[in-house]
Structure formats: structure tokens, C-alpha cells
């Protein structure tokens, strides 16, 4: 595939750019052209918070093609501080010590390589926020 699909997603993948509907206060990630809650077509750019909580996760052992080199890896559903949800890999975490509701923060990481000549894809991942003892933080 040509790298155009990589390039056009850069604002979302590198900076967590979303859109916000001022009429009904809904946030959309990824950005979209209209508000599906109230129908408004006047949405504003918004940068998402970079911290949140892990709602649920899976540890992938049988990957789709292209991710064979990275197994096992964790993919999770994160609820950010503003209530927006995002799907992302959870990195720097031991799957056996992970739990629901741990605090996580966004980092930029390599997502995958596309063959020897293809572009390397980077993007957001989330990692557990550790407390002073090196254990995952879980403020309830």
C-alpha cells in the first residue's frame, strides 16, 4: 500500500486530534464530518487528554498478518479523562499483572513495519502509570 493512508492519519496518530461538537458536547475520535448525536455539521478540532483508565483488554496470541513479530501483545479499550474512549495497544506492561481500571497514559511507539521497503508505522499506545513502588496506579 502507498504511504498516503499513513500520512493522512498523522494528526490523530501522533497528536490524538479529535473533533468536538459545541452544540451537544460530544467528542469524536477519530474525527468525523458530522455529529451523529445532534446532526450538527460544525465540529471543532480538539486535542484529547493523554491520561485515562483501562476499561478492558485482550492479550493477542494469534495476530492478523503483519503483527506476527510482536506476539503476545496487549490491545485495550481506554476511557480518557474527558470520557472519550479509544482503542490502543497497551505497552510496557506485564499481561499477568495488568488489571481493569488501572491508570494509563499515552506514548508514541512503533506500531508495525510494512515489509522491508514499506514505511514504518508509528502511533499512540498507552502504558500503565506506575506508583513509587513500581506497581500500576489505580486511583478509584
Amino acid at each position: 500500500m502507498l504511504p498516503s493512508n499513513l500520512w493522512r492519519e498523522i494528526p490523530q496518530r501522533y497528536r490524538l486530534e479529535a473533533v468536538f461538537c459545541p452544540k451537544c458536547s460530544t467528542t469524536y475520535f477519530p474525527p468525523r464530518e458530522l455529529c451523529t448525536e445532534c446532526g450538527s455539521r460544525e465540529l471543532e478540532k480538539k486535542k484529547l487528554p493523554t491520561k485515562g483508565k483501562l476499561v478492558t483488554y485482550t492479550v493477542i496470541h494469534t495476530p492478523p498478518k503483519g503483527f506476527e513479530l510482536y506476539t503476545p501483545y496487549i490491545v485495550g479499550l481506554v476511557r480518557l479523562e474527558d470520557g472519550t474512549h479509544i482503542t490502543a495497544q497497551i505497552t510496557d506492561a506485564d499481561p499477568n499483572k495488568l488489571d481493569l481500571d488501572v491508570d494509563v497514559e499515552a506514548v508514541i511507539r512503533k506500531v508495525k513495519e510494512n515489509g522491508r521497503e514499506g514505511p514504518i508505522y508509528y502511533g499512540y499506545k498507552f502504558r500503565p502509570i506506575l506508583n513509587a513502588n513500581g506497581a500500576p496506579e489505580r486511583k478509584c
Binding site: 493512508n5 492519519e9 469524536y28 475520535f29 477519530p30 451523529t36 476499561v55 478492558t56 483488554y57 485482550t58 492479550v59 493477542i60 496470541h61 494469534t62 495476530p63 492478523p64 498478518k65 503483519g66 503483527f67 506476527e68 510482536y70 503476545p72 501483545y73 490491545v75 485495550g76 479499550l77 474512549h85 479509544i86 482503542t87 490502543a88 495497544q89 499481561p95 481493569l100 506500531v111 508495525k112 508505522y121 502511533g123
Partner: protein
């Protein structure tokens, strides 16, 4: 709208059909359906297929399969709706006959998945999810189901054993189905202890990949008696969608598309969930089967796993689920699955389901979804 009946069903066993092509597989199922109906003159063809382009590098299926069947210049169309392509083809064919446009229509589904490797197939299946914001992260369709399963287990205090019991029941049913890919029973221990795919989902929680094709012949109800004494009418049908991205859902434990499609289909059929005698539900993963039982209205939210534990879903239970063995054990050749489900319900309502016959089945339902519930199609059938 005219009332529509099913007058013929045809299937091939779901299997690794190394010797069959996409074309021969579909043609064999279609011939079985035509012979079952008494060979009416078919006026049009609909075929459900998810991704022959990716699995077999073959597009333009409708003219290819119409040609193989000797339908000449008659209208033929392929319908794609991810994992529910089969039910989507039936939904379109139904409207065709109900509207009066055609009388006798052949509607089938086919998928030939075994010519690819597991990692290719896992990727192709993941193309039913959002490529840029789900598949991009390395998330598979099993992975989305797994995230939901983990939440479900936590919220309702359920262990993996309960899901494994669903799998054991599917194999038990499939052991009585000659068309099933896995026609044998398995132990609870085997269902529970297999390799992890996307934790907490293990291999035995997943529907297999396989090759298969199935077909139906439908016509106006008033013309059906010329061809069969075991007429089954399609009395309700609806398709509904949910947010395409899973993370945009307001409730991660409910299949909203299933709730809406089934409620509209029940209204059209003038029935309630309690009236359904037998159902074929979309159990692509054990968690998906449990959620379907709840969201179709057979039990309350959070009680699907109990229905399994208490035997309510067995062939002689209160609400028999997947007498065919379901996607799990009958098999899930993706674009054909919705037609296999409908064919099973028709056999059940005719009383032709052999050893897996549900006693006194009069009203049946088929439920086919796409992605993780991004859409759902429900059909309701009634014995005449």
C-alpha cells in the same frame, strides 16, 4: 407486500474442500436446493459472499455463478455485508419476491477460506472491523470479542467454564448434523483447555474457518403448495446497525443492532421472543453466542450464561439454540453462514432435521451479525 415461502434448501458439508472450487462448491449447494424444491424455473440469483476477492482473488461472482448454474442472462447479484453476507442476500431476495418483481428466486451463500493461511485468514476476517482505528492497532475480531468477554466475566461474575459449556453444547448438537464441520462431541476439559487466541478467548471459543455453500429457493407463499407440502413462510425480517467503531458504543455488553433487528422482526411477524421454538444465533465466539441469547430477548441481560448452565438451550430445553451446532461446530464459512442458519431453521420447521430435531418446532429464527455486532439481520420463519 406478498407473503414469501421457502420451498427448497440445499447445503454441502462445511469442510476443507481441497478438491472443490468456489464455483463447484456453490453450484453443488444450489443444485441440492433446486432438487429439494422440485426444480422450479428460477428467475433470479442472489449470492452472499464476504471476500472471494481476498480469499480466492476472484471478484464478479454473480455472473460467474449464474453462468455455472445455466441461468443465462437472468439477473444475478452478489451481496456483501461482512460476516452477515448470507443473511443480507436473503434479505434482498425476500424483498424481490415480496415486491412482485420475481416469483422464483435462488438465494445462496458461499465462502472458500481454506486456500489461505491462518494469519492471512485472521487478517481478512479483521477487515470487517475499522481498518484505521481497530485493525491498525493489531486488534483482531477475536480480540474485540475477548475484550467484551473479560468485561462480561467481571460484571456478572462468570468464569470461562460457563463459556466452555456453551461450546460443549454446540459440539453435542453438531454430532447429530451431517452437514457439520465438527460432527463430534467434546469434553468440558477439552473445551476449556486449548491454546489462547486473544485472552480470555481460547481456540475452542472460536468458530473455525472452513469452506461451505448453502442455498434456498423462495417464492410467493400462494405458489408454494404446487411444489411442497412442507411450506415454511418467512414472516419477519429486519436489518439494523450499530456504531462501526466498537469504542463508540454506549454499552459494551449489548448488541444494539441485534436488539433492534429482532424487535422489528418480531413486530412484523406479530410474535414475542417467547413464541420462538428454535433459533440459530451468530456464535462466532462463545461470548457472541451468550450475548445473542440475551439480546434476542430469550433471557435477561447477564443471564445468558445461566441459560447454558441450566440446559435451557439444549435440543429439548425451553429455547433450543443452534441445533445445527452453530458457527462453532457446524462451521462458519462466512458469506454462507446466514444461509446455513436459514436452511437449518427450515429443516427444523418441516420436521426434517433428523436426530437433531427440536420437538414441535413451529416458529424459528435466524440471527446473523457482522463485525462485532456492527450490524445484525434477523429472519423469522413459520411452519404453514
Amino acid at each position: 407486500m406478498r407473503k414469501v415461502a421457502v420451498i427448497g434448501v440445499g447445503m454441502v458439508k462445511v469442510d476443507h474442500h481441497w478438491k472443490e472450487s468456489l464455483r463447484s462448491l456453490f453450484t453443488k449447494a444450489a443444485i441440492n436446493a433446486l432438487e429439494d424444491a422440485g426444480n422450479p424455473d428460477v428467475e433470479a440469483l442472489y449470492v452472499g459472499n464476504m471476500s472471494a476477492g481476498q480469499f480466492n482473488k476472484q471478484e464478479n461472482l454473480a455472473p460467474m455463478l449464474a453462468d455455472a448454474l445455466g441461468l443465462g442472462s437472468k439477473p444475478s447479484l452478489r451481496v456483501e455485508e461482512g460476516c452477515s453476507s448470507g443473511a443480507a442476500a436473503l434479505y434482498m431476495a425476500l424483498k424481490d419476491v415480496a415486491s412482485g418483481m420475481h416469483d422464483f428466486v435462488l438465494v445462496g451463500g458461499v465462502e472458500k477460506m481454506m486456500d489461505t493461511t491462518t494469519s492471512d485468514a485472521t487478517f481478512i476476517i479483521s477487515t470487517v472491523t475499522d481498518q484505521e482505528y481497530e485493525a491498525f492497532t493489531g486488534l483482531s475480531l477475536a480480540g474485540i470479542n475477548a475484550m467484551v468477554m473479560r468485561l462480561y466475566m467481571k460484571k456478572f461474575g462468570v468464569k470461562r467454564e460457563s463459556f466452555a459449556k456453551f461450546v460443549v453444547q454446540m459440539h453435542e448438537n453438531a454430532s447429530k448434523n451431517p452437514y457439520a464441520q465438527f460432527p463430534f462431541k467434546i469434553s468440558l476439559d477439552k473445551a476449556l483447555n486449548s491454546a489462547p487466541v486473544a485472552e480470555p478467548i481460547h481456540l475452542m471459543d472460536c468458530a473455525p474457518i472452513g469452506d461451505g455453500a448453502a442455498a434456498l429457493i423462495i417464492c410467493p407463499a400462494e405458489k408454494a403448495k404446487e411444489f411442497t407440502s412442507d411450506q415454511v413462510d418467512i414472516v419477519g425480517a429486519w436489518k439494523a446497525n450499530d456504531t462501526f467503531l466498537f469504542h463508540m458504543r454506549k454499552d459494551f455488553l449489548s448488541l444494539k443492532a441485534t436488539i433492534e433487528a429482532s424487535r422489528n422482526a418480531y413486530d412484523m411477524a406479530n410474535i414475542t421472543p417467547e413464541d420462538v421454538d428454535v433459533a440459530e444465533v451468530h456464535d462466532s465466539f462463545s461470548i457472541a453466542g451468550i450475548l445473542a441469547i440475551e439480546d434476542l430477548g430469550f433471557v435477561r441481560k447477564g443471564e445468558g450464561w445461566m441459560a447454558v448452565e441450566e440446559g435451557l438451550i439444549s435440543l429439548d430445553g425451553e429455547i433450543p439454540i443452534n441445533p445445527s451446532g452453530g458457527l462453532k461446530a457446524r462451521g462458519h464459512p462466512i458469506g454462507a453462514t446466514g444461509i446455513y442458519q436459514a436452511a437449518e431453521i427450515v429443516l427444523q420447521l418441516r420436521g426434517d432435521a433428523g436426530k437433531r430435531q427440536v420437538p414441535d418446532a413451529r416458529i424459528g429464527l435466524s440471527h446473523n451479525t457482522s463485525g462485532f455486532g456492527t450490524s445484525a439481520i434477523v429472519h423469522v420463519f413459520k411452519a404453514k
